[in-house]
Symmetry: C2
Subunit: 278 residues, 2 copies
């Protein structure tokens, strides 16, 4: 399994504080030592730093900590491999271009039967179930819409539906960025927090680091941070429910979409439980 980290804001923000916590889990406070990656958007384009080495030892990870890049949208991942060897091709986040914008994807979980979903225009480069799922997800979007949807709720619903289909027989926690939104799907484990005024002190769970956000922000700033497990010990994180898709835009949680499939599965489970109890 792996850990996810996302950030989506209304003003360019650096992710160093959160990434400092996460990177300790990459081989030090956590076992996720099979590579890491971090994508930073600038408009519709992204640049991705990838390193198939443990994040806690990586000189590149240290460099990014010392030379922060401000962005409105970032997607990060540290990997503990379950499927596919530790190579550059298997290092998340994965990137593809669709409709003239970069799409960035990182996954936590396993989808053992994902290859029954046919590929289309996008092919995996590596051997992970995750990249296969990403290619299927983008193909699903491409088939539904001829261009980037102007009715954005339709895009949100499509991501939720395809996410539910893919997650149907596996664990599909993911982060998906398109330069405008950050989609965050909880299958088993995902949390978020939206930092806004009045800003306070935050203390990292994985490192002896504290920050007083009131000294580095303005009253209008809104910063959503999404992570597999809460990164701080003294803040109230919202824990996701299985099957939920969060849609973040400009530091706001714009929508929480339950997936139809998940609703069906949840009700099936309730029915099965009630049958057993009889």
């Amino acid at each position: 399994m792996c850990e996810l980290l996302g950030m989506e804001c209304n003003v360019p923000t650096d992710i160093v504080f959160s990434f400092s916590g996460l990177r300790q889990r990459g081989g030090k406070t956590g076992p996720h030592a099979d590579g890491w990656g971090l994508a930073f958007y600038e408009g519709r384009a992204t640049r991705v730093f990838l390193d198939p080495t443990p994040a806690c030892q990586s000189p590149l990870a240290r460099f990014l900590g010392e030379n922060p890049i401000k962005t409105l949208l970032a997607v990060g991942h540290i990997r503990r491999r379950t499927r596919g060897p530790t190579t550059l091709a298997n290092t998340h986040p994965f990137v593809r271009e669709l409709w003239g914008r970069h799409w960035v994807f990182a996954h936590n979980g396993t989808l053992p039967r994902v290859r029954r979903h046919k590929l289309g225009r996008f092919d995996p480069i590596g051997t992970t179930d995750s990249e296969h799922a990403f290619c299927v997800l983008l193909e699903g979007l491409r088939k539904r819409f001829p261009a980037y949807p102007t009715r954005r709720r339709e895009l949100w619903s499509a991501v939720a539906e395809i996410g539910a289909q893919l997650g149907d027989d596996g664990t599909f926690n993911f982060l998906l960025g398109d330069g405008r939104h950050l989609f965050a799907r909880c299958a088993t484990k995902l949390s978020h927090i939206i930092r806004k005024a009045p800003f306070g002190l935050a203390a990292l769970a994985d490192d002896d680091v504290r920050i007083d956000f009131s000294t580095v922000t303005t009253p209008n700033d809104r910063v959503a941070v999404i992570a597999t497990c809460p990164l701080t010990t003294n803040e109230a994180w919202t824990v996701g429910k299985p099957g939920e898709l969060w849609v973040f835009e400009k530091g706001t949680l714009r929508a929480t979409l339950p997936s139809k499939t998940d609703t069906i599965r949840a009700s099936r489970r309730v029915i099965q439980r009630s049958r057993k109890q009889r």
Copy 2:
């Protein structure tokens, strides 16, 4: 105009020496101060470091100099913008996935009428003529072959032909990597050198740096370096002819393809000259 740098080898090699020279031209010994990028392949996957700031001042460029990444194939670019603002989306090299491998592209020159070439499956993210040309080039390959061609000479010819079509009314020096080959097209200005045993001393043209390659190589090593202008002062570089496409593989120049269009244009020019002389 911009400067290109490529490296293609039969053993993993670091590009630091060549990049050290090139990066001085990014705002110091040269005027190419509008961003830079460097892509390193590992198999069919690549990771790209991009920075829309002058290479000579960039902390990321310094980091790569101090933390060399060994690779069989690298594509670099420093930009002096002619079309499109200085943004991340306009920073070369550009990357797309086709047939389950990354393709990396960097361009030197301008193609003022490139938008008359229709796009297909690949859309530009930025506003450069270069990225548009790359998308057209890949679409041309995709249309000709259902998968990565097993007859590789057919791929080489296709790159040469599409390159000639695109370069027909503009300046189209480019580097194109696919993880196996490095294609290098000369329209106006491109040079290469293949370093092999017996290795000797090389002195950078742009920086007071010398290296004795015999101390860092084995007798079987072959390293092809391609650059807009020769990077060293004491080695014999091969200068490209207009319209030529070089195909490098495992540190060897596998083919030099003249483009049909260029041959036609060259013969037209000869005819025109002889008419004038009459």
